[in-house]
Symmetry: C2
Subunit: 381 residues, 2 copies
Amino acid sequence: MQKKAEAKQSAIVTPWEVKGNVDYNKVIKEFGTQPIDEKLLARIQKHTKKLHPFLRRQIFFCHRDMDRILDAYEKGEKFYLYTGRAPSGPVHLGHVVPWIFTKWLQDNFNAILLFQLPDEEKFLFKENLTLEESRKWAHENILDIIALGFDPKKTKIFLDTEYAGTMYKHACRVGKKITFSTAKAVFGFSNNTNIGQIFYTAMQSVPAFLPSIYEGKPTLCLIPYAIDQDPHFRITRDIAEALDYPKPASIQCRFLPGLHGLESHGKMSSSEESGAIYTTDNPEQVKKKVMKYAFSGGQATIEEHRKLGGNPYIDVSYQWLTFFEENDKKLENIYKEYKSGKLLTGELKTILINKLNQFLTEHQKKRELAKKHVEKFMMRD
Amino acid sequence: MQKKAEAKQSAIVTPWEVKGNVDYNKVIKEFGTQPIDEKLLARIQKHTKKLHPFLRRQIFFCHRDMDRILDAYEKGEKFYLYTGRAPSGPVHLGHVVPWIFTKWLQDNFNAILLFQLPDEEKFLFKENLTLEESRKWAHENILDIIALGFDPKKTKIFLDTEYAGTMYKHACRVGKKITFSTAKAVFGFSNNTNIGQIFYTAMQSVPAFLPSIYEGKPTLCLIPYAIDQDPHFRITRDIAEALDYPKPASIQCRFLPGLHGLESHGKMSSSEESGAIYTTDNPEQVKKKVMKYAFSGGQATIEEHRKLGGNPYIDVSYQWLTFFEENDKKLENIYKEYKSGKLLTGELKTILINKLNQFLTEHQKKRELAKKHVEKFMMRD
């Protein structure tokens, strides 16, 4: 079974589709990013004291130009953070992974964060989604973002349609540098692609340049994101110098797998409800979903499990704990006990359920409180 | 010579290029517009008392759905006017032709006018033009627009980059309905076209729908324009119903020929200075340009001219008088005297020079006064 898990199938990774068991080493090679190595981790740790578990565990696994960010920071220059969320539905646990890490970066490097909600993106790419619906979701999603604890003094959240008065002219500058041919090659566009979809990547590039625009001088930007967004930011980097802006640096994370497992789906998908846990799910829903759907690395019977042990590499509950159990010692114990057969699948699931419900109960409280603080974070024209 | 003038060559008419001697009957057929016939003229005249010379002389020569506009007007419903100017240089006399007519429509039908200055358009299409330059030209061009006498209470002038906070979201709605394939077929785009150019037509469609958006109910829009802009508005009409907006009506004019004549160039071009008269030219410059460059329909010698007469069909000075001499009787006399050989080319040119300088002296005074009134006309987010 472990063998099966290690045998990687060819996978698809684009901003609109992630399918199959993603081979992250292959991604690094194909996308031309740098792996995050020990040397870089040590250099980050000099400034942060502790390393975030997502770094220790290679959940954030590659980057571009993190060294330049640290060079600048060590010289006392400021850099901005930029991340985003294309709203078209509720936030699930996969979405919050890069945001949790972004907050950690904000706290440790005292950086201003630009949080883009491109409410036009999914509208342009989904036949039946209206702009009103995606804007409604944007306002729901903002509560989740705020609930994660970003600093209202250093965080600017904006919807593209509410900040287009500023963004559109810069998007035109960006768009002038991108030919249809490039967009087609990067995103796989065809003759049936609509002209809003074709232009959209220009709007996603703009926030990477806003730091230089706001500061009136070249200012670095670091973009944490899940690896599927990479095609957009490859374009952003390619055109930056032609526009006299520094290339944005970036740091990329793996996907939280869907409950159905690594083999069937590459990342958690909102469109498949049984595979996702939403930030608004109650403890009963979480329990039911994990118990019913979380793909198990355990054996067919208790007897076999005690004898052969479970496979944490394909067990979704264990994999999720690598994202949500911050304590390395605890995680290691769980790994050992599951692998040895001491811990049964049902018991492992219970550990995860408790962990998630602990996080979600707290998150839901903060999410409720966030309703009063939205305006402190919003940036509009 | 007359024969030569009547033999039409194949011409190019797109929003970015007008070349050759345009056969306007062919244009009507190819673009699918309706000729403006006696019946329609009579119906317009019922409301305007007099017909504008541009209508009497078929300078405005075709339309779409003018009947629907008149139906609505006769029922007491309001309609909006929409026209525009892509700023990338000074205004010349060719530009003001549709605007003069638009003002006449505003006065006679008491209509609100939306005047778009898409400052991103030429920036996207011209390699070396910066957005700062096109915005600078926009502010210069606005003075010419105001100088023509539009009613500040019923005229809203806007730059796309200053009104994108409103326009961009609607442009996304429009853009979702237009495939690359359609844009390619209509505008002749290729793989080298930049993604800003591809999206731009969506921004040009938006003002045709703003009347319905402002009024909160289906509201008609009439777009007067020079025929080269037709491809944009064919798309606008094609997608209107899918967005639940009424199709905009339109009325199209011929081009004022460049000074070098009908044969060499289809319309006056700002990029070729010797062929154009700008609204800021002084009387000496006008005299010099007309005397030196205006293509003549006269004979090689005075003797031959007296004997054979001039050819008003190819004589640019005469053709320009059909645009700028409002008095039909005077124009007819000039025609007869030039054709008979009584009026020499130099004398005809002097008539034109006086006419133009009379118009321009007045225009320049109003243009100067306009500087104080810009803000009354501007619409921003």
